[in-house]
Amino acid sequence: MTSLISPATSDKAAKVMLWVSASIAILTLLFILGYIVVQGLPVLTLSFLLESPRLSGAEGGILPAIVGTFCLMLVALLSAVPIGIGAAIYLAEYAPVGVVTRIISFGVECLAGIPSIVIGLFGYAFLVIYLGFGFSIISGGLALMFMILPWVVRVSEESLKAVPGGLREGSFALGATKWQTVSRVVLPSAVPSITTGVILGVGKAIGETAVIMFTAGSSLLMPTSFFDPVRALPYHLYILASEGISDPMAYGSSVVLLVMVLVINLAAVAIQRHYGRHHVRN
């Protein structure tokens, strides 16, 4: 069979097409970023970051929303990390490969696939109403925990499994027990990549508006305890825009949110860089 197009031509065509795809992807990203930054820039002042909102957010700043977002992330992290890493250690190191492990892994996969709006609704019914936490940082943080838990489990499990088997054998050969081996050699070796993964997970969770609008509330006041309601940044900008309160303020909030995500991602990269050289090149 002879082809109408010569290999050299199709090679060139493929290269051009891939180049076009890459350019479109990058340009789209730059366009979105540029548009938001340009729109948000006029309201971005120090007082925007450090003041409370006035007139439903049409004036003033967004400090309570920034603080609220931080608190939600903190609760989500402090609850998801120990549970997630514990589950991952069990799955990667202890659970016999078989039906039970597969069922747990499948459950984790399913949890990861639940739409955030459903998690939000469940958080509302279970945390806000049934457990009586009300609209609060605790409710929102725990609902976000449900959201990032599967991610933390999966990232941690993969990080643990990537630790070279030779390290485990080396530890056992010195007369260490299983738990000593796991806690002193395997887990520390996996910590850098677990940390990176978890931080990236937080970067995704920070924008999960659907989860927190059902659970964290929409108070514009500065929270004073973890049982106070807060309005997280993404929800704040949603309300600003959807209720026509102030478009510039919504864009200003978007820029702050983007910067937070950027900082989080840079932190993940920095940790990876810093610890990368410690990893055994096996």
């Binding site: 490969v97 070279p164 030779g166 390290l167 485990r168 054998e169 080396g170 530890s171 056992f172 050969a173 010195l174 007369g175 260490a176 027990t177 000593q180 002193r184 050699v185 520390p188 070796s189 050289r277 410690h278 990893h279 055994v280 090149r281 096996n282």
Partner: protein, 252 residues
């Protein structure tokens, strides 16, 4: 004539349904070096990993027959694998330093066995590094990551780490196969020094190495022990044709 430290009697081993060791019977004397040679896949690693029960970690591995350490059955019901491994250390083919400092690598064994005293740990670290001929090179760099050492240094670190636990036996599974000739020579010198204090079993693909460092040599072929005897006799006057063929490089 020295005492027998490790003895295997009719040892059979299966991975699932595949038999990897067939009726291995041999006795390894105390404070001597026993070399195990044979072509790839003949069961050398499998055998040596039985001695410190490393095969416990392998799913589907089944063992029958007897394996004795100081007269006690290694696979007996009252043998604790963790305790056994304190007395029988192992150095692996690929250097496997832990991703921590040189000091912490050496102190790892004593620490997991409950030693907390700082001076005592310092002393053990220094002693072990001296005994593995590494002190002069890294004595000033104890806080440096062990992963940054050269391959040969890493392997001597792994030996030092093993010595820190004060075992009676050290198993070496091709300890030099990933190293350059100079590092290899250093490890061989080290083994020649260590044999005054430790019983050593070493797997090697290097005939000259077996001839240089060992007192006894076992030749394995397809999971069977073909011949076992004094190294000099095995290399100069082997009983079996296949041993001679292997040693002279005529097969495998």
């Amino acid at each position: 004539m020295s005492e027998i430290e490790i003895e295997s009697r009719n040892l059979d081993l299966w991975y699932g349904s595949a038999q990897a060791l067939k009726k291995i019977s041999m006795a390894m004397p105390e404070k001597k070096v026993t070399a195990i040679i044979g072509p790839s896949g003949c069961g050398k690693s499998t055998f040596i990993r039985c001695i410190n029960r490393m095969n416990d970690l392998v799913k589907g591995c089944r063992i029958t027959g007897e394996l004795l350490f100081e007269g006690a059955d290694i696979y007996g019901n009252d043998m604790d694998a963790v305790e056994l491994r304190k007395k029988i250390g192992m150095v692996f083919q690929k250097p496997n330093p832990f991703p921590m400092s040189i000091y912490d690598n050496i102190a790892y064994g004593p620490r997991v066995h409950g030693l907390r005293n700082k001076e005592e740990l310092d002393r053990i670290v220094e002693e072990s590094l001296k005994a593995s001929a590494l002190w002069d090179e890294v004595g000033d760099l104890l806080d440096q990551s062990a992963v940054d050492l050269s391959g040969g240094q890493q392997q001597r670190l792994c030996i030092a780490r093993t010595l820190a636990v004060k075992p009676k036996v050290i198993l070496f599974d091709e300890p030099c196969s990933a190293l350059d000739p100079i590092s290899t020579a250093k490890i061989e010198d080290l083994i020649n020094m260590l044999k005054h204090d430790y019983t050593i079993v070493i797997v090697t693909h290097n005939m000259q190495q077996a001839a240089r460092v060992s007192d006894h040599t076992a030749f394995f072929l397809l999971g069977e022990l073909v011949e076992f005897g004094k190294t000099k006799q095995i290399f100069e006057l082997p009983d079996k044709k296949s041993t001679e063929d292997y040693i002279t490089g005529r097969f495998g």
